[in-house]
Amino acid sequence: MNALRRHRELSRIWASDPGWRGLLTTVNHTDLGRMFLAVAVTYFFIGGILAMLIRAQLASPRSPFMGPEIYNQIFTMHGTIMMFLFAIPLFEGLAVYFLPKLLGARDLAFPRLTAYGFWCYVFGGSMLLFALLAGIAPDSGWFMYPPLSSTLGSPGINSDFWLIGITFVEISAICAAVEITVSILRYRAAGMSLSRMPIFAWYALVTSLMILTGFPPLILGSLLLELERAFGMPFFQVEHGGDSLLWQHLFWLFGHPEVYIIFLPAAGVISTILPVMARTTLLGYGWVVVAAISLGVLSFSIWVHHMFATGIPHMALAFFSAASTLVAVPTGIQIFAWLGTIWKGRPQMHLPMLWIVGFFATFVIGGLTGVMVAVVPFDWQVHDTAFITAHLHYVLVGGFVFPMLAALYYWMPHMTGRKRFFKLGETAFWLVFTGFHGTFLLMHWVGLLGQRRRIDTYDVGSGWEVINLISSVFSFVMAIGFALILIDVIIHAVIRSRGPRNPWGAGSLEWAMPIPPPPYNFASLPEVASRDALAKSPDLALHLAKGEGYLGTPRDGLRETLTVDTATGRPNGIVVFPKNTALPILMAFVTGGIFLGMLIKAYWLVPLAGAGVVAFALRWVWGLGHRRDRGLQDAGRGLMLPFASETADPPGWWGSVFLLIANATFFGCLIFGYAFLWTVAPNWPPPAWAVTDLRWLGLALAGAVTAPLAIRWATVALGRDRSALPGLVATLTGVGALLAGAATIPLSLPDPTRHAYDATLWVIGGYALFHAALAALMTGFLVARATAGFLSARRLGEARIVRLWVDYAALVTLAALAAAFAPGLLS
């Protein structure tokens, strides 16, 4: 097969459906990456327009431009859009588009999940956009502190839009994080050991793991606040044993890692682009990896530095102050590695490099003011002032937007296959850079003079007038700069000026393919022996096009790629990807019914939509796997490999592991919230402890022992080519006992509105009940799969996946029962 025929055949196999239908049914990562990026950038411009409205309002004292009701919605939506609908999805889009190309694969691990996540993002974001246009947008600030955001301070539907819409969008983030983690660990080029991974992949891995553990606290907080608002469960009401500080803990447990979730991908972009611009390799690759991992984990220990002014004891403040100063060290290591890279190379001031230099100047200032506010006495002085607004914009715009603009200009030729025509980008850079510093440097000053953040107006004679006016003028200069960038991109799209394949002379794999990229990425999959495979072998693209890599011969019209051993990069399986399907968009639409039902208080819709989601999910997974063993297959270059569905740890098993990590974080936060209320909130202990019949506890305990043992029995039987059905039936019995045990928790507390204790145990019980039901559903599904012939000694991956969920259900049910009934039993 010659290169052209291979290209045509692969294009036919991997192409999206034609026309508009293709947008709705595509599961291809290149399409979905572009769609993510386009929607995220749209939200950036919407958020930017809101920012201009804020600056217009603050340009003069006693401005009649807008009243506080509208202003509150505008600044809340500005923050919300930029954080949740622009920054995180932009990272997702970047990772979805580039990771397989950087890693030498043909797609991400779970293409339909990518599509499902994208549509959840679109539908969830649309809810917030609708609220904004209808004038009923959230208005309690982007971190939604109760009681301001509870029914007491916000009785309308405004806060519900935030709590429900953002949670819907977060499904997208969790989906993307699972997807990216599994893809980086398993879907790489042959020979790409961990030490040979592109540096961006390390950053994306750390970021994804942070999303998996950072987002659950916010999902939990949003759930609790919505339950309080909708049903009066008093998690944050002091008079009923709640505490509004619990929200702050849960929010910032998410919120501070979020800052690094935003910064780390940008750091990955810089670590990728800077060496190319400096015509060298990254200095201290290993140290940068250490710094990225350290930063990722350390960032989980500094959430309380947003709460220094809440009256927390000095010792606790000191823990978080110390941790906050410590994160400056890995950040500094990265900065010095980048400076050293410039030093060691011969930098060229192309446009991406200009943005990187802008990043250095801006982010370092933001980092230094970050160290200032990590020191408790200083933080007390500037807390809730415009100084903090300035600091966070230096960090987020300098640390994320500028590097992403470097990425835009660096990879735009890759996405379009063209070169820039006019030099508008350079002018835009200077406008944005000057405008940004003119706006926000001054904001430090006015903050130190005492201007509080989020005020809608101020008095004549406050001493802030001139500073605010200058700040507003510069903000419009910045806006003109961003508009020029948009025009530059449009011109780039309109004028077809063909560019070279590898315009920057980069060594990474994404340039070893035709540009714009074909839907299959690589005609055959590369084998790499270094971090910069293309630099070592400049003809790599040609060799791959000729089919000299792996999987160069299309097989039965299947979409195939390789999986590798995590550490060594040794190929160990062939994955067959699903074809185009409308299933993800339909399932996201039905998922939206759950959230819409809660939002408009049409609670009948929630179980209906939930049942729909279950039906779609079953349809989704039923199409996977085979009814017969296929054995080893030719992967090219003389290598024989099994299909991934015939390995012990198929991609779904890895996905479940990481989803369970997110899930366990959610449960851990729930237990933390329970312990926090117990030890810190006033009005404890509750009026009465939960009690139950010990026989129910015995039944649950029996279930917690039986279910995990029985699912193992089923798996072992499968491995010996015997029937799994007796083990699965025993598993169902055990899971049934778990269900009964978990149900005793809400049944023992008839009124969840009585006290925060009752309310919290309802949620804990509901969580256990949900997981026991899920384990029952999955076991039942496994029975059907076994009966239909989808399981065998080779194909027991599905049983191992269900085992994970059964074990988890048993563990959380036991933990929930202990949390619910131990106090009553002990007292």
Partner: protein, 97 residues
């Protein structure tokens, strides 16, 4: 997966220790316990944090590949520094004021 655990494990242990000591401080303040418990817990978690450093430097538990070995050891050292630095306030500050 083992290498991923080698890389992330030491700092996750530190995160667990940090959270536990923070929680213990809350319990101590709520229950009026003696502050010595906190100092003892700090000493314990410092000692505990040294364990992965020792384990990862052995042939049995450490990685064989040079890059993972060096990186995991460096992260284990970060863990030890972090547990000493971030929890040092238990030795110097009053617990509940």
């Amino acid at each position: 997966m083992t290498d991923v655990i080698r890389l992330f494990g030491p700092l996750l242990l530190w995160l667990a220790s940090f959270s536990a000591i923070y929680g213990l401080q809350g319990v101590l303040c709520a229950g009026g316990w003696n502050r010595t418990v906190l100092v003892a817990a700090w000493v314990f978690v410092v000692a505990l944090q040294v364990v992965p450093l020792i384990l990862l430097s052995t042939e049995r538990f450490g990685a064989s590949a040079g890059f993972i070995r060096r990186t995991s050891l460096a992260l284990a050292v970060v863990g030890v520094v972090a547990v000493i630095w971030t929890l040092a306030p238990v030795a110097f500050l009053t617990a509940c004021v």
